[in-house]
């Protein structure tokens, strides 16, 4: 599904503050894989995710998604395949727009935003049905501005928004870092459920090692811009939670 070949990325090249964020990464992620990426700060996790999303373009190497060479495509053109949940709950939604407006945009993620009014009664009904799935009681608040909701609620809705339109790849960049433990669990369970139900290929970055242990069917560890550990489904299943702690010792 996603194929990265000898990716390099350097920031501030040639300057005193040069950072070699990614130093030769080869990574093939198969369809319906739930990949967890762990690593200390500055190991290149987020840069790698941004390279897949297209927010930044690689210095060298190629990126393929679903068989298409997307190496030079900007993020808004890769949205055809990719939906994203950001670390900051504010980044994934538009706070001044209503929940309904946010969902409308998500529902036409892969389509052009035309000059017709897309919000009608049947659309409202389908949004309400989807939101009911979360069990947060938000289905009666769809006319409210997104900004009136808590971070956990917004993060859960962002997740739901990703499956409003056809979606193949789900990128989760520390989605629970800003949330309390209970909201974090709701969001992670929802992510897990959507991944299985909709057959998504999911990539999760997390600093929460319990999450890294609980979710996903493959785990990689990054350090200094390289992948230093890569455990497949069987290996991850036989892993103990303490083993992951030891990686950071």
């Amino acid at each position: 599904m996603i194929d990265l070949k000898s990716i390099h990325k350097t920031f501030n090249k040639g300057k005193a503050n040069q950072v070699d964020a990614i130093r030769g990464v080869d990574l093939a992620i198969t369809e319906k894989e739930f990949l967890v990426i762990v690593g200390s700060n500055g190991s290149g996790k987020t840069t790698l995710l941004n390279l897949i999303a297209g927010s930044i373009l690689p210095g060298s190497g190629t990126v393929h998604i679903d068989g298409n060479d997307v190496t030079k495509l900007p993020d808004y053109q890769r949205s055809e395949w990719i939906a994203r949940v950001f670390q900051n709950p504010l980044s994934g939604t538009a706070p001044d727009l209503s929940i309904l407006d946010n969902f409308r945009l998500a529902a036409i993620r892969t389509k052009s935003k035309g000059l017709s009014i897309g919000i009608n009664e049947s659309f409202k009904k389908s949004v309400k049905e989807k939101i009911t799935m979360l069990g947060m009681g938000l289905e009666n608040k769809i006319e409210q501005p997104m900004g009136t909701l808590s971070g956990g609620q917004r993060q859960a809705l962002t997740l739901l928004m990703s499956i409003m339109d056809s979606c193949k790849v789900l990128l989760l960049d520390e989605p629970t870092a800003a949330l309390d433990p209970r909201s974090a669990e709701i969001v992670m369970r929802a992510a897990d459920k959507l991944t299985t139900e909709f057959g998504l290929t999911t990539i999760l970055i997390t600093h929460n090692l319990k999450e890294a242990f609980t979710y996903g069917n493959r785990i990689i560890q990054m350090a200094e811009g390289k992948i230093i550990k890569d455990l497949n489904k069987q290996e991850k299943a036989s892993l103990k939670q303490n083993d992951i702690f030891d990686w950071f010792a």
Partner: protein, 289 residues
């Protein structure tokens, strides 16, 4: 009374500018100063073409197109060359001064004995009443178009661009293109104000745009205070409040002049009034603590 009617009519003329500033400033979060230039540009194009005996209705699309062109140049400078939008606007505004002067050939064009949109239709014998109905109709149409646009999928994407850029890019919108379109739209509206005002006052002047951005800004800020006060989320109501803001602004100026404030101090009063409106919500917030 006629004095206040004139202020109301001026407010109507400025309502397009207010909508333009509302789009650039509130929807896109871009402080756009191209306004001063594109307003004069609208007036200039109108005056030049009217003196060449082009009918007023045929001039309008040309005015809209030139305003949009000015705005999109600011947008391109801002997005493609990554230049601060304030500076991009000032650059285009400065350049437009020469463009306007070249188009006019002199600094002032009076419009005597030429027909305008206000002489196109005769609804009432009183020319001021006639102007009132024509302007009201015009403003209503513009508001309907903008209101509809903001409700469409494209409009929602526009509103999201200024609100959460990371989100809307992830949802497949080219934000650079969106900003260019937004600034083009805002300045097309501004030029339309120049079109109306030139015909209303009967002349175009190279200096007519100086400080005009504050008129739009003041109107939007009045509207915003009301929107925050009454917690309004409806797009339609917000637009109507922006229009009211433009009228209230002109009314306040009219009252100031009427109570005998020196006309030379008008810009000072304008600035002080806008400052008052901006600070009011904060002052009242403090006292409620």
């Amino acid at each position: 009374m006629d004095f206040y009617l004139t202020a109301l009519l001026q407010g109507f003329c400025f309502s397009a500018i207010a909508l333009g500033i509302y789009i650039s400033m509130k929807i896109f979060n871009i402080p756009d100063i191209t306004t001063d230039g594109s307003y004069t540009l609208g007036g200039t194009v109108t005056a030049v073409l009217l003196t060449h005996h082009l009918p007023a209705f045929a001039i309008l699309p040309i005015v809209i197109a030139t305003g949009a062109l000015a705005g999109s140049i600011t947008g391109i400078i801002h997005t493609k060359l990554k230049i601060n939008p304030l500076l991009a606007g000032i650059l285009v505004m400065t350049a437009l001064y020469s463009v306007n002067l070249t188009l006019m050939g002199r600094s002032n064009i009076p419009l005597l004995n030429v027909s305008s949109i206000f002489s196109l239709i005769n609804i009432s014998g009183d020319p001021n009443h006639n102007t009132f109905w024509i302007l009201l109709f015009f403003v209503a149409i513009v508001t309907l178009i903008i209101g509809y646009l903001l409700k469409t999928d494209f409009g929602i994407a526009m509103r999201a661009t200024g609100n959460s850029e990371s989100m809307i890019r992830a949802l497949g919108v080219n934000t650079d293109r969106m900003k260019i379109i937004g600034l083009a739209l805002a300045n097309a509206l501004t030029a339309t104000s120049g079109y109306l005002m030139t015909q209303f006052q009967g002349f175009a002047d190279i200096n007519m745009g100086i400080g005009i951005v504050i008129v739009g800004l003041g109107s939007v800020i009045i509207a915003e205070s009301l929107i925050n006060w009454f917690k309004i989320t409806s797009v339609w109501l917000s637009l109507v409040l922006v229009l009211s803001g433009a009228v209230i602004f002109q009314m306040v100026l009219a009252i100031t002049l009427n109570i005998g404030v020196d006309a030379n101090l008008l810009k000072l009063v304008t600035a002080a009034f806008v400052l008052l409106i901006v600070s009011l919500p904060r002052l009242s917030f403090k006292s409620s603590l």
